[in-house]
């Protein structure tokens, strides 16, 4: 296949970004959405073609690098290349990214219609898609990092899209700073890895580090710092970067706030694609994590499990529908993370890896669907708050059905997509780590509960009261409903894809087993969650309040997101600002500025005191001159002979 096809996949969105960003506002304001969508469509078709070609060619999937351009060479082995890496997960990801992006592009044609900065919005979307594709296709660790930052920037731009809203600006800054902070870890990790393994190229990196007895692997394991090997530090630091991007506890605080952006953006960036970049990164380096640093993989597992249950508990108490979805995203990414964490390398023990990627795929479908559905609802009622909704099932039947499908999918009810992927994750956890398995089981019950709490509160509960200021009363037209229907198909059907055949740790196809007795417990818990939510929220009643009151302290803590934001504020405002910021400011104001002021003041004082010399009397000057000349004459004649 010609290389140009690979290159075109990320570069078509880039062309869209440049075109719309530079000329959109002036020349084709109303057509910009269609231009962006069209480019995206071509990119999607190419991606599917490439992926189909790759997966259908053989049954063993090699790691190819069809495109490679050496960009910056540091030493003989270390160089920053721009390349395209072709392996099962990157091929799966380009399909997911282009597909969700295409759906969001189409959806935004309706959702963002009439916005002032419509072309800008589409150019940012295209920039994001380009960066994300570059990230997943990267063949070099540093290339990943470059695109990693680029997706961060596009996320920042899109969260702050409504830049006249102070909360959106604050959220954009928060997202950028928190992820940037984590990315510092990533960068240091890259440097450590580059230093110990003497390469940045993924293929060489994995090959040298994982082959037993290689020089780099043994030297990396030998050099230790604070009791852990250099490689352990490297992978742990890289995981910090991944945890920041994927909103893992305790770096998750930016994700709920990021919901200030337009809803389609949340669907694309903060649900389906960008936030799974951390999972993708760990999966990309999985052989190293698994073979060289199993301790770090344990951390990955625990962080994922804690994030999953933590976010699920918070999600049960929130009332902003987008925030519920944000916490749900965090929880599901936690699933993907701990699935990687409990996985081993090779054969059956690699099930967690397959399951994680499988869940990433199905999650992209149903979470994008949930967000887009929520967008339709928000468009309709002009509010994010669950309390303003209720009884919408007859007003918006298409949204209702698709939302229900997505909820069933995420709750893990067969035969929807989430059931299959979650089942594999639970199986992997059961084989890998029993405590994590139980956490995951509880979380899956909670997931079903909060998703159906959301569903019943939006579509059932009290009858909908039309308020006066919402004029248009339609679901948003076919252009917004079409992506919902397509994604609903994905959410319902994508579970039947035999993922283990394509994506596995060692290239040997993995048969997905189906254990009936094993699935009973999670499904039963999911159903229990659904019935619980139904009992509490289907009709308006006072049971939720009673329940909340009986759980008083715990409910309050969960409602306030376990005060994590407050802890961060305390640490930054009270400790860092006072102990580091203020002394630094004092030093700057007094010492640094003081030196500059001293120079200025001295000059002023000196000139003030000798100002009188310039009297304007020529004869006075002449006297000074005369005595000066005499003085010099004496000096030269008698002293310095």
């Amino acid at each position: 296949m010609p290389a140009i096809i690979y290159i075109l996949i990320p570069f078509l969105p880039l062309a869209g970004f440049v075109l719309l960003g530079l000329f959109g506002k002036k020349y084709f304001k109303s057509a910009s959405g269609w231009i962006g969508t069209l480019l995206m469509l071509v990119s999607f078709i190419l991606a599917v073609y490439v992926a189909y070609d790759y997966f259908s060619a053989t049954s063993i999937f090699p790691r190819n690098v069809p495109v490679k351009y050496t960009w910056l060479v540091f030493s003989e082995n270390i160089s920053i290349d721009m390349g395209i890496l072709q392996d099962p997960i990157s091929m799966m990801m380009i399909v997911v990214v282009t597909f969700i992006s295409l759906m969001v592009h189409i959806y935004s044609l309706g959702y963002m219609k009439g916005e002032e900065r419509y072309p800008t919005y589409y150019s940012f979307l295209s920039l994001f898609t380009f960066s994300m594709l570059g990230l997943v296709l990267a063949s070099n660790l540093f290339q990943t990092y470059i695109f990693w930052e680029l997706v961060g920037v596009s996320s920042f731009l899109l969260i702050g899209y409504y830049y006249d809203k102070p909360s959106a600006v604050a959220a954009a800054k928060k997202a950028f700073i928190v992820t940037r902070f984590a990315d510092l870890g990533f960068l240091i990790g890259i440097l450590v890895i580059a230093n110990t393994s003497d390469t940045l190229d993924y293929n060489t990196l994995i090959a040298t580090l994982t082959s037993t007895g290689s020089e780099q692997a043994s030297s990396a394991a030998a050099s230790t710092f604070l009791g852990a090997s250099a490689l352990t530090w490297g992978t742990a630091l890289i995981f910090i970067g991944g945890a920041g991007k994927s909103a893992m506890f305790p770096l998750h605080i930016w994700l709920p706030d990021a919901m200030e952006g337009p809803t389609p953006v949340s669907a694309l960036i903060h649900a389906a694609t960008m936030v799974v970049a951390g999972v993708y990164l760990v999966a990309r380096l999985f052989p190293i994590f698994s073979i060289n640093t199993p301790a770090v993989l344990d951390i990955v597992g625990w962080v994922g499990a804690i994030s999953a249950v933590f976010a699920a508990i918070i999600a049960c108490t929130q009332t902003d529908i987008k925030r519920i979805l944000a916490y749900s995203t965090m929880s599901q990414i936690g699933y993907m993370m701990f699935a990687l964490g409990v996985a081993g390398y090779g054969g059956e023990s690699g099930l967690g890896y397959t399951a994680s990627m499988f869940h990433l795929f199905t999650h992209a479908m149903f979470k994008a669907l949930l967000f887009l559905g929520a967008g339709v609802v928000i468009h309709y009622v002009h509010s994010n708050d669950m309390k303003d909704m209720g009884g919408l099932r007859k007003k918006m039947p298409v949204t209702h059905i698709t939302f229900l499908i997505a909820c069933l999918a995420i709750a893990g009810i067969p035969p929807f997509a989430g059931f299959f992927s979650k089942e594999e994750i639970l199986l992997a956890a059961y084989n890998g780590n029993t405590i994590i398995y139980w956490i995951a089981l509880i979380t899956s019950g909670l997931t079903a509960f909060y998703m159906f709490r959301l569903y019943f509160s939006i579509f059932w509960n009290k009858p909908y009261q039309a308020d006066h200021h919402s004029g248009h009363k339609s679901e948003g037209g076919w252009i917004m409903l079409f992506p919902l229907l397509v994604l609903a198909l994905g959410a319902a059907g994508s579970g039947f894809i035999p993922f283990g055949k394509y994506i596995n740790t060692d290239g040997i196809p993995l048969e997905s087993h189906f254990h009936l007795q094993f699935s009973i417990l999670p499904v039963a818990l999911g159903l229990a969650g659904i019935f619980m939510a139904m009992w509490l929220y289907k009709k308006q009643n006072n049971r939720p309040e009673k329940l909340a009151a009986s759980l008083n302290g715990f409910y309050k803590a969960a409602y306030h997101k376990f005060y994590i934001d407050e802890i961060y504020l305390f640490v930054t405002k009270k400790i860092i600002f006072n102990l580091i910021g203020r002394p630094a400011a004092w030093f700057d104001k007094n010492v640094v500025d003081g030196l500059v002021n001293l120079a200025g003041n001295t000059t002023t004082a000196v000139s003030e005191s000798i100002k009188k010399l310039q009297s304007g009397r020529i004869q006075q000057y002449a006297i000074y001159f005369l005595f000066g000349a005499i003085g010099l004459a004496i000096l030269f004649i008698y002293i310095w002979k």
Partner: protein
């Protein structure tokens, strides 16, 4: 008695200091200009005297003197122009009234 180098140097030094004294004490700008001419002429005398007594075969000193005379003429023209302008604006050629030129 033939006048020697020292005689002439004596005259030239006297002339120089008379000029300096005049420049420092006179308030009238024209008189000050005349004092400067005295200083210049004392220099001229020096050049000629040294040329004649030390290097009689050369003419460098003479040329210097000619140059200085030419420059002095030019300088006098410029100075007179300045003085006339000052007189027009201040109605005086007293050097003390020119103090504000420092601004």
């Amino acid at each position: 008695m033939q006048p020697g180098l020292y005689h002439i140097l004596f005259i030239s030094t006297a002339l120089f200091f008379i000029g300096v004294y005049g420049f420092l004490t006179r308030k009238n700008l024209v008189t000050m200009l005349m004092s400067i001419e005295l200083v210049l002429n004392s220099v001229n005398l020096n050049f000629i005297a040294f040329n004649k007594y030390l290097w009689p075969h050369k003419m460098d000193g003479l040329f210097f003197t000619l140059f200085i005379i030419a420059i002095a003429a030019a300088e006098a023209a410029v100075a007179i122009a300045i003085i006339i302008n000052l007189y027009r604006s201040h109605n005086s050629i007293n050097v003390e009234n020119a103090e504000e030129l420092k601004y």
